[in-house]
């Protein structure tokens, strides 16, 4: 019996015991380290939860029907809301999605399937990865130089600026999820006599769809919260939008404007608008999760 050595310390294994020894150095180290990781995890989530708690506490009170349906108040006016900013944000995100998803999807098909190893693919992939860390204000400056100087501030310009920011996320997520379609499935499709485009449209895209949609939703959530690119492109408006080619309100710019005003009413509205913005982002993130989990 004394031959059995489980601890590689002969002097301790004289009498074989399988009992737990909580005060052994090994057990103590393990306990301390486990406690430490718990503590750090909680520490990490404190900022997140405190932001949400503060938003609910400060903005929850003003989040009523009026805030969601009325136009922003002027100077000393009481009441009012930010309905035009909600609409503006949704419209500009929709424009950005309509631009970035088709381009991003086609680029991803090229990167993942058509010619993954070509120099062009390597370069595009590198550029896309670099652009994910692109300072968002530069997307605004770029769009200002390309569009705003010629056509003025507009929802379209805002949408383009957001599309520039969404594009790399869409491309990389779509490429990744198409690459994960098992080779045996594409083999089966080729074996059935599919052309390459049939393999892509009938097998690769439907199979990779949950992953692609997850990527799109995350990109949408990111774009909805952007303010810097919109400063240079959509500017702001105190009225409901009547066409796409005019300055347009957005939640993020409204928050920026109102939070620096000396009026309590506007500051309260800025809090409520922040809460709405976070809720919009949250909805898109939850949608992304649900879609990602769903299996055919």
């Amino acid at each position: 019996m004394s031959d059995i050595d489980l601890t590689s310390r002969p002097q301790e294994s004289q009498r074989l015991s399988l009992e737990r020894r909580p005060f052994e150095l090994r057990a103590l180290t393990s306990g301390v380290l486990t406690g430490l990781t718990w503590g750090i995890a909680i520490l990490g989530s404190i900022p997140l939860f405190s932001v949400i708690i503060m938003l609910v506490a400060e903005g929850g009170a003003r989040l009523d029907i009026e805030a969601l349906t009325a136009l922003p108040p002027a100077g000393f006016e009481m009441g009012g809301g930010f309905a035009n900013a909600i609409i503006g944000t949704l419209v500009m995100v929709a424009i950005a999605t309509a631009i970035s998803v088709p381009i991003g999807l086609l680029a991803a098909i090229y990167l993942a399937i058509l010619d993954p190893h070509s120099p062009l693919a390597g370069t595009s992939r590198f550029v896309a990865k670099t652009l994910t860390g692109f300072p968002s204000i530069l997307a605004g400056v770029f769009t200002y130089a390309v569009l705003v100087i010629n056509f003025g501030y507009s929802a379209v310009a805002g949408g383009v600026a957001l599309a520039v920011l969404m594009l790399p996320t869409v491309v990389l997520a779509a490429e990744e999820s198409m690459k994960q379609v098992p080779k045996k499935m594409t083999d089966a499709a080729y074996g059935m006599g599919c052309t390459r485009s049939q393999v892509i449209w009938k097998v690769v895209l439907p199979t990779g769809l949950p992953g692609i949609l997850t990527g799109v939703m995350l990109a949408v959530a990111g774009a909805a919260g952007e303010s810097a690119p919109l400063l240079f492109t959509a500017l702001f408006s105190n009225y409901f939008m009547s066409e796409l080619m005019e300055p347009t309100a957005s939640l993020s710019i409204l928050i920026y404007n109102f939070s620096s005003m000396p009026f309590d009413n506007q500051i309260e509205l800025a809090w409520a608008a922040s809460l709405v913005l976070v809720l919009i982002v949250l909805v898109f993130n939850i949608l992304a999760r649900l879609i990602g989990q769903s299996k055919v």
Partner: protein, 275 residues
């Protein structure tokens, strides 16, 4: 290469089928890049029969099978010398569309690979691909019946093909392959991922399929070859060139290959001396 010139010479007399050869496959050399994968293999596939390919790992039997319907085209470094003729037409001819070839010569793979769509859509896939004008529903049912799967799935045709068990998935893949009524069915170790009962079912199915189709079957399992194959091709591996090059050692009626092999290597393999 000259050192192996002698080994390159065909060793057994070429097998000539009694009936019509649907596919006449003469592969002098098959390369993946610089790697010589298969040499000197003349493998005729006889009409209405099951032709079994046996041999140790790396002997090129899957390579030979996949060159019959140009699945190897998907590997960019693939090239070969020789010819593959299907009803007298050169499968690798300049004007031949590999997509069309694969619609006549269907394939069932080693791993069951249903698409991530419903059972019904899996079987209807090829019909829709070919814009089949007739009654799709009837063809789907017929294909599932022939694949001996209908009874098990008829109440859940809308369930995902991936929800089935491994054996059912493989029979689904067979149903998918035969729904379009291909002329030849290539089966690349179709039972290697299956349990013995599912294997038995698929083997039974193969015997029924040969009434209507010509089948070429790669198998690791010699008993399977004796149970289902009419003709057997035995491939060996030649390591004299430094690489591992597969070649056809002997081909003949299955009973003859197993009971009266003409080549010493075949005798050793079928008696289990190496694998």
């Amino acid at each position: 290469m000259s050192a192996t010139a002698e080994a390159m010479a065909p060793r057994a007399a070429a097998f000539s089928p009694i009936g019509d050869a649907v596919i006449d496959c003469q592969l002098q050399k098959v390369f993946y890049g610089d790697f010589l994968a298969v040499r000197n293999s003349h493998v005729p596939i006889e009409k209405g029969k099951i032709t079994g390919f046996i041999g140790p790992s790396g002997c090129g039997k899957s390579t030979v099978l996949r060159s019959l319907n140009r699945m190897n085209d998907l590997i960019p470094s693939f090239r070969f010398e020789g010819h593959v003729k299907y009803h007298g037409q050169d499968v690798y001819g300049k004007t031949v569309d590999p997509v069309v070839v694969r619609r006549y010569i269907g394939m069932v793979f080693q791993q069951p690979n249903p698409f991530s769509m419903s059972i019904y859509d899996n079987v209807a896939f090829g019909l829709r691909l070919n814009r089949y004008k007739g009654d799709v529903e009837e063809r789907v049912q017929k294909a599932l019946e022939r694949a001996a799967l209908w009874k098990e799935v008829k109440d859940k045709l809308n369930k995902s093909g991936l929800s089935l068990s491994g054996g059912q998935q493989q029979r689904l893949c067979i149903a998918r392959a035969i729904a379009t009524e291909p002329d030849v069915l290539l089966m690349d170790e179709p039972c290697s991922a299956l349990d013995p009962i599912a294997t038995r079912q698929v083997e039974q199915l193969m015997l029924e399929l040969k009434e209507r189709y010509t089948v070429a079957l790669v198998t690791h399992n010699m008993q399977q070859a004796t149970r289902v194959a009419d003709t057997t091709a035995f491939f060996g591996v030649d390591i004299s060139g430094g690489g591992r090059t597969g070649y056809l050692v002997e081909m003949g009626e299955t009973r003859q290959i197993f009971q009266d092999p003409q080549e010493e290597l075949t005798k050793q393999y079928v008696s289990g001396e190496f694998s």
